[in-house]
């Protein structure tokens, strides 16, 4: 009889992410205990609030959609050696451009969707282009320039929306987009029992994940971007155009965040408000970190964070635990992902012992066979 081929256990990003999540939840449980509440009840209500019925699932998916695109943007930038902390501004730029185009142009629903998606991507890309150029040609660090771009976007929206897109009643937000100018889909809304939060942005996000994964793994472009991200001097020595790569990376990252803006403002909410710098821009950093900056990882971490965010209101409504606790858990998880080296060591040690045990057993049995 032949023994099954034994695959050596090794720690991987998935195990590390799960470890961080479990420890984050444990820390959250501890906090809940400290305020004298029952953590199991709290977690149960979060789950219930996020998944209790199809309408709530729709909400969770809608929140995850935006996080997924932002997370993908930041993960992509990480992989190419850039820290895109300007996703908030790119979301606003994408959302504003898409909303403006939607109001200005009249088209049937499906072509309209393509047009606003494109314009959102383009505006986000421009918001990434500027820091990219500054970095490539003037060595301005992208963290500084993208933060400044955030505020430029914030004030542009502040001026632009009341001046051109004002609704009938409120000064502080645009008019509501009519159905045929949004990413909402009737059939999707019907599936989800009338929830109009979930929208075509979800498909855009999943499609973007596949495209980015393909670019990074399979194409010469991804090869170039990664090489520049890992070692720009080595890339330059080999003849790769480093400046072009940096600019392109920032544009793609910006475009992806711009798409998040389209899905949020032209799908989830249907209008754009002034005076709000979308926090998803920063939550996206958490999504990218927990997802180990891999496109597939981003999908799962966005779904997880979406679940926490969608369920937190229900939890605080049914218990005395404040909704901020969900955000605290997210923060703790980020701390744990940031210390992933610790987990890697822990699991490597664990797995080594298991592997050794197995190998000892295997070599014993080999000896016996040889004796015969």
């Amino acid at each position: 009889m032949r023994a099954k081929k034994y695959k050596e256990l090794k720690s991987n990003n998935f195990i590390i992410a799960i470890s961080a999540v479990v420890l984050g939840l444990l820390a959250g449980a501890l906090l809940i205990l400290l305020i004298g509440q029952n953590p199991f009840a709290a977690f149960w209500y979060i789950l219930k609030g996020a998944l209790m019925n199809v309408r709530r699932i729709a909400m969770t998916l809608a929140i995850s959609t935006t996080l997924m695109l932002v997370g993908l943007s930041i993960a992509f930038a990480f992989k190419t050696g850039l820290f895109n902390i300007g996703a908030s501004g790119q979301i606003l730029a994408g959302g504003l451009a898409a909303t403006t185009v939607a109001f200005a142009v009249d088209l049937p629903h499906v072509p309209m969707m393509f047009l606003i998606i494109l314009s959102g991507f383009a505006a986000g890309a421009i918001w990434g282009l500027i820091p990219g150029l500054l970095k490539a040609f003037f060595n301005v660090h992208e963290v500084v320039s993208t933060i400044m771009m955030n505020w430029i976007a914030y004030w542009v929206v502040f001026y632009f929306v009341p001046a051109f897109l004002k609704g009938p009643s409120l000064e502080t937000e645009s008019a509501m987009l009519p159905y045929e100018k949004t990413l909402r889909l009737d059939w999707l809304t019907n599936i989800f029992d009338g929830s109009n939060y979930v929208n075509a942005g979800l498909f855009v996000a999943l499609f973007a994940v596949i495209v980015i994964k393909f670019i990074m793994d399979k194409t010469t472009l991804g090869y170039e971007l990664k090489a520049v991200g890992h070692n720009r001097y080595g890339a330059e020595y080999a003849g790769i155009k480093v400046n072009r790569s940096v600019v392109l990376s920032m544009m793609i990252a910006g475009g992806l965040a711009g798409l998040a803006g389209v899905s949020y403002y032209c799908g989830y909410s249907g209008k754009i408000q002034i005076g709000v710098l979308p926090t998803q821009g920063f939550d996206g950093i958490a999504v990218a970190l927990l997802g180990a900056s891999s496109p597939i990882g981003v999908v799962f971490s966005a779904l997880f964070f979406g679940l926490l965010k969608a369920g937190k209101g229900f939890m605080s409504g049914n218990t005395l635990v404040p909704p901020e606790l969900a955000d605290t858990i997210i923060a703790v998880i980020i701390y744990f992902t940031a210390t992933s080296v610790m987990f890697r060591k822990f699991w490597d040690k664990r797995f080594k012992k298991i592997n050794e045990k197995h190998n000892v057993y295997k070599s014993d049995s080999n000896d016996i066979e040889e004796d015969k």
């Binding site: 010469t220 020595y237 003849g239």
Partner: protein, 505 residues
């Protein structure tokens, strides 16, 4: 026999590789004990275990016959073990005293005066000639190394480990260092010297432990063992110190540099009115002291630095202002000086690194899609041909390879690209004799295949061993081009110092 330090039956495994396999090292009080081995043989791993940076899987450490456990460098310091690392661990803008007392400040209020006095005394006692108040960035590399030595002496270390201490030093500084080591032994310290330079072992060491591929091969008495015997024990076969090569048969010019002027990072002219021709079938070596314009010259030829004036042509094609990739395509191959910064992307695996100059064209990609199977086949060919050893083959991250294997990977990639002009800069820096011999052979066979080779090295031995012609550079100017066969090292040395052979000023 009582030993100052013993490492018994040490075993250490890394994923895919056994770095140390049952190694025993015994060092007597008052001796200089050398550890000789090729790159990647496991010398540094063994020392890292002794210094508490790694933990051994098996084996034990004894100091003066007493078993000890060393879990971290602090434990090592407590056991009076000190180490001078290959890369100095100094804070550039701190003074010597501040660097030495770092981590051992004692009370909250710094008492630099006492420390400074103690350092002065130590420096005098061992003839280190260090001013405790000078700032690290102002002193030479040789002096920085002596500061590292002082660090060990300051905490009264008894067992001093030197990890490749001469790799960064000039010949004069090496002599000084060897003298210092002899002085330390006289004061009763014992020294473990990690190196692959046989002359140094011959010059100072008493005994030598030889390691090959993670295994202990032999412990020899240095006085009664010849250099070539030690070399063959280290490599596992007889070694040729002199490179065998046929007479060059130069033909058409491949590289032509005319009146080249290049500015350095300080915006001053680093290369001045430099003209040189390298023909197919010959190796031209550029001899010069480090920092005399070699870096600027190479960067100008390879496209990493802008050319102020003058022209560079390769195979009759003017490449003076072309981007790097066009130069590569015109037939320029380049083994760069800094293999970690330029030569390889350390976080990428070997397979990716092997195609970094070719990934964008067929057969490695089609319609912008990478062809992994072609890349694998090609990479495996380089690994096999150039004997690149690594834990996980093509999938190994380049950064995990030993220095010698990184260099073989780069040389392999460049030669496999079959460039008409191969530029090799410091091709064997920090490598052991086995790897040096191998790389030299590869360079010569590339010449024999009818290509031009431009060699830059700061080691005169290497220049004389390989080159058919020697061009001497000093202060950015070409001093002269001479035939290797009718030149002496002394004459080249004088020109390197800026003394012209032609008598002009």
């Amino acid at each position: 026999m009582k030993y100052a330090i013993e490492m018994l039956h040490i075993r250490k495994e890394f994923p895919g590789i056994v770095a140390n396999d049952d190694i025993t090292l015994q060092v007597k009080q008052g001796e200089i004990h050398a550890i000789l081995g090729e790159n990647g043989a496991g010398k540094s791993t063994l020392m890292s275990i002794l210094f508490g940076l790694y933990k051994a899987d098996l084996g034990e450490i004894k100091i003066n016959d007493k078993k000890v456990v060393i879990n971290n460098p602090n434990d090592a310091t407590d056991h009076k073990i000190g180490m001078v690392h290959q890369h100095f661990q100094l804070i550039e803008n701190y003074t010597v005293t501040e660097n030495i007392i770092l981590g051992k400040e004692g009370s909250f209020i710094l008492n630099k005066k006492d420390a400074s006095q103690k350092i002065k005394n130590l420096s005098d006692k061992y003839g280190l000639n260090i001013d405790p108040d000078s700032v690290i960035e102002d002193i030479t590399v040789g002096m920085q190394q002596r500061v590292e030595i002082l660090k060990m002496l300051y905490v009264d270390a008894n067992i001093l480990i030197f990890d490749e201490p001469t790799a960064v030093l000039t010949p004069q500084e090496i002599d000084d260092l060897l003298d210092i080591m002899r002085g330390l032994i006289k004061e009763g310290k014992c020294i473990i010297l990690i190196t692959h330079k046989l002359e140094e072992i011959k010059a100072v060491a008493d005994r030598c432990t030889i390691i090959r591929r993670g295994k202990m091969i032999d412990v020899v008495d240095v006085k009664s063992t010849s250099q070539s015997d030690m070399a063959s024990l280290m490599v596992g076969r007889p070694v040729n110190f002199k490179v065998d090569k046929k007479k060059a048969k130069p033909t058409d010019p491949v590289l032509e540099i005319k009146n080249l002027n290049v500015r350095n990072s300080k915006k001053l002219l680093g290369v001045k009115d430099f003209s040189l021709t390298v023909r197919a079938g010959e190796i031209v070596g550029i001899a010069g002291v480090d920092g005399n314009g070699q870096t600027e010259l190479i960067e100008a030829i390879t496209g990493l630095r802008k050319i102020e004036s003058g022209t560079v042509t390769v195979c009759n094609k003017d490449i003076t202002h072309l981007p790097v990739r066009d130069r590569n395509e015109a037939g320029v191959g380049h083994v760069p000086e800094d293999r970690q910064k330029h030569g390889l992307i350390m976080d990428n695996n070997l397979k990716d690194n092997f195609v970094i100059k070719d990934y964008y064209h067929a057969p490695f990609s089609k319609n912008s899609i990478l062809q992994q199977s072609v890349m694998k086949e090609y990479g495996q060919k380089i690994i096999d041909t150039f004997d690149v050893r690594s834990g996980e083959g093509l999938n190994s991250l380049s950064g995990k390879l030993s220095g010698g294997n990184q260099q073989k990977a780069i040389v392999g990639r460049e030669i496999m690209g079959n460039p008409k002009l191969l530029i090799v800069v410091q091709p064997t820096r920090g490598l052991d004799v086995g790897a040096i011999e191998f790389i030299h052979k590869q360079i010569i066979s590339h010449r024999d295949a009818g290509n031009a080779v431009l060699l830059i090295s700061f080691e005169l031995d290497e220049i004389f061993n390989l080159s058919d012609k020697i061009a001497v550079i000093s202060d950015g100017r070409l001093m002269d081009v001479v035939n290797t066969c009718d030149t002496e090292e002394r004459a080249v040395g004088l020109m390197m110092a800026g003394v012209s052979s032609k008598g002009d000023k």
